[in-house]
């Protein structure tokens, strides 16, 4: 070890050599950069795992090169290894390392960003033995938080933080390491600001340096002279960090990251990423001149007094010297159908001097107007009386208009200020057309419609809510029920409206229904629908046994990640992407009071897009099923043309990424509520990570969304009542032709049945037999009961009103208490009105 140290020191610059720190002899540490490869992908494509590794390598170098520490061990050294948790602690324990520190960052919403230290703690609250992780966490969290310049959640025992269901500690690295240990979370890789900085090489040295200082402080070793200066260069007006700024200090120059130097690794959009971060070390403890220049900005010169105890932070705001231009306008130039009643909107590239713009602005032909400014005086909304329809207009902002810092408007975009912005457009015709019914569900004249449909009526423009009166809609069961009870809801989505009708009770199987929209619906201009509209459908008779996965009524935060928490989520605009609960847009077919709302923003320039709305825990994750089921969810669509799908984990309990399977994509071309089902028995799957086969035991993984290029880049989708269905009766498409003409009770199949007679399927579900029966004519009350040979009731399988039809029911060999019954002969008996029949079956265990 001595020999190695000497060699390393020989190649160090003199300043580092003179900073030799003593006091760590007899001590060593195992550094554990959390995760592997590119795991825990952060916002904009830079992963937690990559950051953690570079922080750990920098800390290792610092300790080996500047101190007398015995040695530093590390759990991984490159981005290729995939190191399991057990290997990390096995390696540290095998080496008998004196200390264990795990380096991480956190995931959450786009706005969250704070530090956290987690030391090993038992469920009873005591610190893990050997002690020490708690004591070192205090200096680490203090220095790390100051170094990351953010807030902190503090230093917390891991059992207190997560909640332990066993003796603890909670985190594997705390639980299985034989030495004092702790884990640091240096901010959030899902936070845009933090992760753009994480991409910078020197930024990661800040994190490493704070950990280094904390180790010295914990050992009672004086901190060597610091001599660092770092900070962020931003645009004063927009607050956006400046790429390619040159900072000169003490004879050295640092250039902030640019698209060419760094960000092109993560995006194809040259304007997307910025961090404005600069860093200097080896500075003398004195006051130095700091000079900042950047293309398109006025320069800045200031003084910085370098402190000897910590990083000296100095942020600089630059003022642009590019004249303001108009970035966007509504209407766009040359628009010939601009709505006469709409507001005009002008977006400037910089903050404007309001009075100078308002004075310089004319609209001809003239009309009375008022000005509304927003977005730090960068957006102007011109509110006015309605313009004349089908008329040419010209909006002019003279070159005398000025930005906040007296740069004159560059109206023609030639790069020089002082010229006029001119916008020609023509207003369109007045809206004289009534709303148009553009889509309905069920489709007119459709058959085999589910028994609890949500009727969906979509209109091409917004309806006036006052026109949606109580009698405007009616659903009739043909000839015998003039009005089916239910609730009619109006939703406005973008510029369109949708009416959804939720029947209060399931409809009757195999019957004809007529939905009518009566005259009277109108748009905001009083254009009224004058004729009655109608659509008709026939119900099927398939019935289903339902297993709820999640009705989203409670525990949304503990059951589901937010989109950014999943490392698979990519291509999003994180500020526009979130998951929340919603109590207004809910599925009224059930007693739902809450739905899951997913807001999305897509970065159209990204190469790949996915939101993985991950089911991370709670009772829904305990539900296991197989491909004989139908996965179903109610989706409130935004009509965007983007897509969603279901994802499941296959081959449970073998947990492996390669077991992720998905449904085909469903294009969200509807607005309002729609039931979406994935019949897994039909065998159609999509392509993601898995092999496309649903061949094992399944568990729900996630709801996924993707961008369909050309579709809307932002929107909102709601989900309610995620569940599993299994057919309990086999439906028939043409009820009139095949309805049974007589009662019948058929022999069960298979018979005999039981584990000795049938092949195993799901755990505990390997005993099943099917009983088929037929009901003719009118609705009947049907009872189907299993008895043992002494005449005692084992279980009642059916006790309900049944419409005419051909039904099957399954029995799993269990009694009413869910207990398996013994091998032997059993009777099953049907009673339906006057019809009574009994048959025998044999169970073989």
């Amino acid at each position: 070890m001595k020999l190695v140290l000497t060699l390393i020191l020989a190649i160090l610059p003199f300043s580092e050599l003179s900073a030799q720190v003593t006091g760590l002899a007899g001590w060593n540490i195992f550094l554990d950069p959390g995760h592997s490869q590119k795991e825990n992908m952060g916002i904009y494509g830079y992963s937690e795992a990559e950051k953690n590794l570079r922080v750990a390598l920098a800390l290792r170098d610092l300790l080996l090169q500047t101190t007398d520490i015995d040695t530093v061990y590390i759990s991984r050294t490159n981005d290729q290894q995939s190191v399991s948790l057990t290997q990390r602690t096995d390696y540290a324990n095998s080496l008998g390392a004196a200390w264990y520190h795990s380096i991480h960052s956190d995931a959450g919403s786009a706005t969250a960003n704070s530090t956290l230290l987690l030391w090993g703690q038992y469920r009873d609250g005591r610190e893990k033995i050997p002690n020490g992780g708690k004591a070192i966490s205090a200096p680490i969290v203090n220095l790390l938080t100051r170094g990351m310049r953010t807030t902190t959640r503090g230093a917390i025992g891991d059992c207190s933080f997560y909640g332990c269901t066993f003796d603890g500690p909670y985190l594997h690295v705390n639980r299985e390491s034989t030495m004092p240990s702790e884990l640091s979370e240096a901010g959030f890789h899902t936070n845009p600001t933090q992760n753009q900085r994480n991409m910078n090489a020197e930024w990661k040295k800040l994190e490493a340096r704070t950990l280094y200082w904390a180790i010295l402080q914990f050992h009672g070793i004086a901190r060597p002279v610091a001599g660092f200066c770092a900070g962020i260069i931003t645009d004063l007006e927009s607050g956006v960090p400046v790429n390619g700024a040159q900072i000169t200090l003490h004879g050295q120059t640092y250039t902030t990251d640019t698209f060419q130097s760094l960000f092109s690794k993560y995006t194809s959009d040259p304007n997307l990423l910025h961090n404005g971060f600069y860093y200097f070390d080896n500075l003398p403890q004195t006051t130095l001149d700091l000079i900042v220049t950047a293309e398109g900005y006025g320069g800045d010169t200031s003084q910085v007094a370098v402190v000897d105890t910590f990083f000296t932070f100095k942020d600089i705001q630059l003022i642009s010297n590019v004249p303001p231009v108009v970035l966007n306008s509504t209407p766009t130039p040359g628009d010939t159908r601009f709505p006469a009643w709409a507001d005009l909107i002008i977006d400037f590239s910089r903050r404007m001097n309001r009075a100078s713009v308002e004075t310089a602005l004319t609209l001809t032909p003239e009309v009375a107007k008022t000005f509304v400014w927003s977005n730090n005086n960068m957006r102007l909304r011109i509110h006015k009386d309605s313009l004349q329809t089908e008329t040419d207009y010209t909006l002019t902002i003279a070159g005398s208009a000025q930005g906040q810092y007296e740069h004159r408007l560059d109206g023609n975009g030639d790069g020089r200020g002082g010229d006029d912005f001119v916008l020609h457009f023509k207003t369109g015709p007045p809206d004289l057309r009534a709303p148009l019914l553009t889509a309905v569900y069920p489709l007119d004249n459709s058959t085999a419609v589910e028994l609890q449909p949500i009727l969906n009526m979509r209109f091409d423009e917004a309806l006036d809510p006052a026109s949606i009166t109580a009698g405007i809609f009616n659903l009739e069961r043909f000839r015998d029920v003039p009005t089916v009870e239910g609730t009619l809801k109006h939703y406005r989505v973008g510029n369109e409206s949708v009416l959804c009708f939720f029947p209060a009770q399931p409809l009757t199987a195999a019957r004809f229904y007529i939905a009518r929209i009566f005259p009277g619906l109108q748009d905001g201009f009083g254009n009224k629908i004058a004729s009655q509209q109608m659509f008709r459908f026939t119900t099927g008779n398939a019935t289903f046994a339902t297993t709820n996965l999640d009705n989203f009524e409670a525990n949304l935060n503990s059951n589901w990640f937010v989109p950014q928490q999943s490392g698979s989520t990519t291509g999003i605009i994180t500020e526009k992407t979130s998951r929340e609960s919603n109590t207004n847009v809910v599925n009224l077919l059930t007693t739902s009071t809450t739905s899951m709302q997913v807001n999305y923003g897509w970065d159209a320039n990204a190469g790949a897009w996915l939101i993985r709305q991950y089911l991370s825990g709670g009772p829904p994750r305990q539900v296991l099923f197989n491909s004989s089921y139908i996965l179903q969810v109610y989706v409130f669509g935004d009509g965007s043309g983007n897509q969603f799908r279901f994802a499941v984990d296959d081959n449970i309990p073998i947990e492996s990424a390669s077991n992720h399977e998905v449904s085909p994509w469903y294009t969200i071309d509807w607005i309002g509520w729609r039931q979406v089902s994935w019949d897994m028995s039909a065998g159609s799957t999509g392509t993601w990570i898995g092999d496309g086969k649903l061949d094992g035991t399944l568990r729900f993984d996630s709801i996924q969304l993707t961008y369909n290029p050309g579709s809307a880049t932002e929107g909102t989708i709601y989900f309610d009542d995620l569940r599993l269905l299994r057919k309990t009766s086999v439906g028939v498409d043409e009820p009139a032709a095949t309805l049974p003409s007589a009662f019948a009770l058929h022999q069960n199949y298979p018979n005999p049945f039981g584990s000795a007679a049938t092949s195993p399927a799901l755990s505990g579900g390997n005993l099943e037999t099917t009983i088929r029966y037929q009901i003719p004519g009118e609705r009947q009350h049907v009872v189907l009961t299993v008895y043992d040979m002494t005449g005692k009731i084992v279980k009642t399988l059916v006790n309900a009103e049944k419409a005419a039809g051909d039904y099957t029911i399954r029995w799993d060999g269990k009694n009413a208490d869910g207990q398996p019954v013994a091998s032997g002969t059993y009777l099953y008996k049907i009673t339906a009105g006057e019809f009574v029949q009994t048959k025998r079956m044999t169970l073989v265990r």
Binding site: Q81, A98, P130, G132, F166, H172, T178, F218
Partner: protein, 317 residues
């Protein structure tokens, strides 16, 4: 090298999918000891099959009990006493590297636990730097450990065992930092093997016959190799391998984690040549870990992490 490895791997894969032979569970697991409030883990059979040694959470402390779970007795409460402990060949003693912590420093020492005399003996002084683990030489007389620079040999003061297989008896294996070393106890000479150059080896497990070793590569797969460095077999993903008494099979675990917690783990058996891979446990709610194969060949002891308890299950071929 790369081609050979790939071919071996491919060979192994085809055989796994084709084969259906191998070990199967014949009796469901029986809990021996442990649970909330007194969590135990990492059971290891004594060579004579009469007892199990095990440790507590975080490898703190060392216990033994009869193989039926009765008569549990604590040998040590020291930190790290339960990591990498080893039974003596005659099943009468255990050796481990224990630790104590004073201020921020860790002190390690080699300690022998004599079950016959019911006494502990420190074989080394306490040191801040001890990157090797102690192992028994096959005669039972000596314990060896790779130290900072060289091989250190401790005399246990016990009499030598009568051994039939003299050829293998001098053979020793250990990890020299992250490399596999093979040597001879009588001369102290050893050579370092690098089956996968540049890679870090861990969890080295010599077969009872001392002809093969199993090990893991940090960030990689589990392997078996002859002690002369030939016959490398890639066994795929796997952790903490332990041999069957006949040296033909390995029992091990495959874990799933999210970087913070182990989320699932199942036990597997595989033949040393990569054939006959069989999964022994299939639970969704239990995290089975740390298997150990009994000397009669019919039982696997293991722990369930989220129960904090030690179990035994019966297997047959």
């Amino acid at each position: 090298m790369r081609t050979t490895l790939k071919m071996l791997f491919f060979f192994a894969l085809t055989l796994i999918t084709a084969a259906n032979a191998g070990w199967k569970v014949v009796k469901k697991p029986v809990k021996l000891i442990g649970g909330a409030g007194k969590e135990f883990m990492q059971p290891r059979w004594s060579p004579d099959g009469a007892r199990l040694a095990f440790t507590g959470a975080g490898y703190q402390g060392l216990w033994i009990m009869q193989s039926d779970g009765t008569g549990a007795r604590q040998l040590s409460a020291e930190p790290a006493a339960g990591f990498g402990f080893e039974w003596s060949p005659d099943s009468q003693a255990l050796v481990s590297r224990v630790a104590k912590f004073e201020k921020q420093f860790r002190y390690n020492a080699v300690k022998m636990f004599d079950l016959e005399k019911n006494e502990d003996r420190l074989l080394s002084e306490y040191r801040t730097f001890m990157p090797g683990l102690p192992h028994w030489a096959e005669t039972g007389q000596k314990i060896y450990m790779f130290n900072r620079q060289n091989l250190e040999i401790f005399d246990t003061g016990t009499k030598a065992l009568t051994l039939t297989k003299t050829a293998a008896s001098n053979h020793i294996h250990f990890l020299k930092a992250d490399k596999i070393a093979v040597g001879d106890i009588t001369t102290g000479a050893y050579k370092v093997l690098e089956p996968l150059p540049g890679q870090t080896c861990l969890n080295l497990a010599p077969a009872p016959q001392k002809t093969k070793v199993a090990f893991e590569i940090l960030g990689g797969n589990m392997y078996v190799m002859n002690v002369d460095g030939t016959g490398l077999v890639d066994l795929g993903e796997g952790h903490r391998p332990q041999w069957s008494p006949d040296g033909e099979y390995l029992v091990y675990m495959i874990t799933q984690d999210n970087g913070h917690q182990i989320q699932d783990s199942e036990l597997y058996v595989i033949r040393g040549d990569g054939r006959e891979k069989n999964q022994l446990t299939f639970t969704n709610d239990k995290i089975e870990m740390n298997p150990s194969w009994s000397s009669d060949g019919n039982k696997i002891a293991f722990d369930v992490m989220n129960d904090g308890a030690i179990y035994v299950l019966e297997i047959s071929k």
